[in-house]
């Protein structure tokens, strides 16, 4: 998995609540058997009209946000399906950090598996970042995972919380499966015990 330590980049404002995974990546793109190539379809139905032309008003189509690496959005971001295609599309577009007042559980988990940092902050602080992001290309924020801070283009520092295990894995780009396989003896032991206590499973 890709490491995440610090990121300085343009933040795109998407002030919508309940951004769902069907908005992030609609169903027709779930037919792929690969993890890459989805960035061009990120936010497909908001980003393109039914003829496939760009909708000029959509934030990621505006010249100042086409290179955005951070996304600021509303509460309950990523609600809906478990499709990991959503974080794959976000990452493939080039966004490595999503900041919102809250996230849906499965989407939140999926981000960490893909080197994307989802940051949950109180609404007032998201509002500050949203305003900063609306300044476009001149507003470059810095996210520092080690220090657990987001710094606005004005130098205002906002601290965020993160689960220590997830932080450790992101900072070091650790592969979950390899970590778990180190505990193979414990899994063997559990299975042997369960074969006695719950043989019907």
């Amino acid at each position: 998995m890709d490491k995440f330590d610090t990121l300085t980049g343009i933040a795109a404002p998407l002030p919508i609540v309940n951004v769902d995974t069907d908005m992030i990546i609609p169903k027709q793109y779930l037919k792929t058997i690969q993890r890459t190539g989805l960035g061009v379809s990120l936010f497909d139905e908001m980003r393109y009209d039914s003829d496939g032309n760009e909708v000029p008003d959509f934030v990621l189509n505006k010249p100042q946000y086409r290179e955005a690496e951070i996304l600021i959005s509303g509460e309950n971001f990523g609600c809906g399906s478990s499709r990991e295609h959503a974080p794959w599309a976000i990452k493939d577009f080039g966004i490595r950090c999503v900041i919102a007042p809250s996230f849906a559980d499965i989407f939140f988990n999926n981000c960490f598996k893909n080197g994307i940092l989802p940051i949950a902050l109180p609404q007032e602080q998201v509002d500050i970042l949203m305003k900063d992001a609306e300044r476009g290309q001149n507003a470059r924020m810095t996210v520092d995972l080690e220090a657990q801070t987001v710094t606005t283009s004005d130098g205002e520092v906002i601290r965020f919380e993160i689960d220590p295990f997830r932080k450790h894995c992101l900072l070091n780009g650790l592969d979950d499966i390899a970590l778990t396989l180190e505990k193979a003896a414990a899994i063997d032991g559990f299975e042997a015990e369960a074969a006695q206590s719950r043989p019907w499973v």
């Binding site: 037919k31 996230f103 559980d105 689960d163 295990f165 414990a186 899994i187 719950r198 019907w200």
Partner: protein
């Protein structure tokens, strides 16, 4: 021993390892797999030279892409869909997992066939790369959706890295009025607590109205726990559960059944268990519900009116404006005056035999209104066969419904069953998101009984206003 919730008990019984930082390794008893969220996971195994640790606990079935027209012999036209199904076919064979191909009568929506085949049992941990895995919580199993990376993790290790959720109790007291069903219960909960109300929690549904539900109804309630933001929804197993499970293909038999029962009967929340959040509803106050917007929390009783965005606060004001524009609705419009084009009966929320019986009851002596496209997609081949045996299928076809093969179908439109732009659908599925059933499609969620009533009149309709004898009790 300190008192525990049902969730605590299942969690403790599956804990393989707990790290100092609180992250835990949980053993997974059943891993359900479908074609959309698994190809990258199997590919990951191949690339790293890993195998499936417990193929006997892994069950694969194609459902999302599967066409539902009756001639399965002609195969799948869409090339990408076909490739995805072929990949599942190959992966199931290469890795030796249980598999129900399209040609098997037992094929169906993964969350319908797990319980149907007896793979889903009380007290289990069950995961699937699909958010509606919550369905299996109806059996008192801890069941939730995971992403593809986690699918790969479970395939390789039969475990999942988890942090424990908080405990939330949703109690539905009293008895449901006529015309009100399990779907209305689950929609009422989301309507009150919101789509993020359950975030960070595992919900246990309890109370007399839940106890009175059949297993099919309980599955409908738990299915939409995810729409309320919860990691999982649970219902403690009881005689209704045991009766449903007994005799199913993969349920325990003989002495193993007795041993299982001995444990299953301990699976309830202790009286003095700690709850982080409690919500109580009086079932008698729940009315038949429909959604008006593009979020499952946009719920109103059928006798209501389309709300004004001004009646909301914060970010919900602009969300409501956006939803009304998308849905083509004006504030103040009576919900019952909203005309529909299409009716979809099916999905892992409402594609079980009881749902079809409910529709048949409403349609008794009635017909689908001319010009309305009405389709029934049974949740599995066996549900379809049972409905045919009971004579329901023939009646519904006579009444004007299309009678289709099993799959996810128009719930998410990954197969050819989709809404056209602007097409308005009374749907028994679980999500009314923008574009969910087809780009520009307009979805109103409701119960099978309400969807049937809409099929009859061609508009959103209060099922209670149809003849009393056919209203589900």
């Amino acid at each position: 021993m300190s008192p525990k919730t049902l969730y605590d008990k299942i969690w403790d019984a599956h804990l393989v390892h707990e790290a100092e930082d609180g992250s835990s390794l949980l053993y997974i008893d059943r891993h359900l797999v479908h074609e959309v969220t698994s190809p990258q996971a199997f590919e990951g195994l191949r690339l790293s030279g890993r195998t499936v640790r417990a193929p006997d606990k892994t069950i694969a079935v194609p459902d999302h892409n599967v066409p539902t027209d009756t001639d399965r012999a002609k195969g799948i036209e869409n090339e990408q869909s076909r490739i995805q199904l072929e990949a599942l076919d190959r992966n199931a064979k290469d890795f030796g997992v249980h598999y129900y191909p399209v040609s098997d009568v037992r094929q169906g929506i993964v969350h319908i066939i797990g319980p149907e085949q007896g793979w889903t049992l009380p007290g289990m941990t069950i995961v699937c790369g699909d958010s509606h895995t919550a369905t299996h919580g109806a059996f008192g199993a801890l069941a939730h959706g995971i992403g593809t990376s986690e699918v790969e993790h479970v395939l390789a290790t039969q475990t999942l890295i988890q942090s424990k959720s908080k405990n939330m109790k949703v109690e539905i007291t009293g008895t449901l009025p006529p015309g009100v069903t399990a779907k209305d219960i689950t929609m009422a909960i989301i309507g009150r607590t919101g789509t993020a109300g359950g975030t960070g929690y595992v919900i246990e549904y309890s109370g007399s109205a839940i106890r009175e539900l059949s297993m099919e109804g309980r599955m409908t309630v738990c299915n939409m726990a995810i729409e309320g933001g919860a990691r999982a929804g649970l219902i403690a197993p009881d005689q209704t559960t045991f009766d449903y499970v007994k005799g199913r293909a993969h349920a325990p038999k003989g002495a193993q059944w007795d041993a299982a029962m001995a444990w299953w009967k301990t699976l309830y929340s202790d009286d003095d268990a700690h709850w982080d959040k409690v919500v109580t509803f009086d079932a008698s106050e729940i009315a038949p519900l429909v959604t008006w917007g593009t979020s499952p929390e946009d719920v109103l009783p059928i006798d209501g009116e389309v709300p004004s965005p001004d009646s909301f606060e914060g970010g919900k004001v602009s969300a409501a404006q956006r939803a009304l524009e998308y849905m083509g609705l004006k504030p103040g419009t009576r919900l019952q005056d909203i005309e529909i084009d299409t009716v979809f009966i099916g999905s892992c929320t409402n594609g079980r035999i009881e749902d079809l019986r409910e529709v048949a009851r409403i349609m008794e002596g009635r017909r689908v209104k001319d010009g309305i496209r009405a389709m029934i997609v049974p949740g599995s081949g066996l549900v379809r066969a049972q409905a045919e045996e009971e004579g329901i299928a023939a009646k519904l076809q006579e009444a004007g419904f299309e009678w289709r093969m099993a799959g996810c179908s128009m719930c998410l439109g990954m197969n050819p069953d989709q809404l056209a732009p602007g097409e308005r659908c009374a749907s028994t599925s679980n999500r009314n998101f923008e574009g969910r059933q087809g780009r520009g499609g307009r979805t109103h969620l409701m119960s099978p009984a309400m969807a049937a009533a809409a099929a009859v009149t061609g508009r959103l309709t209060d099922v209670r206003e149809l003849a009393q004898d056919s209203v589900p009790a």
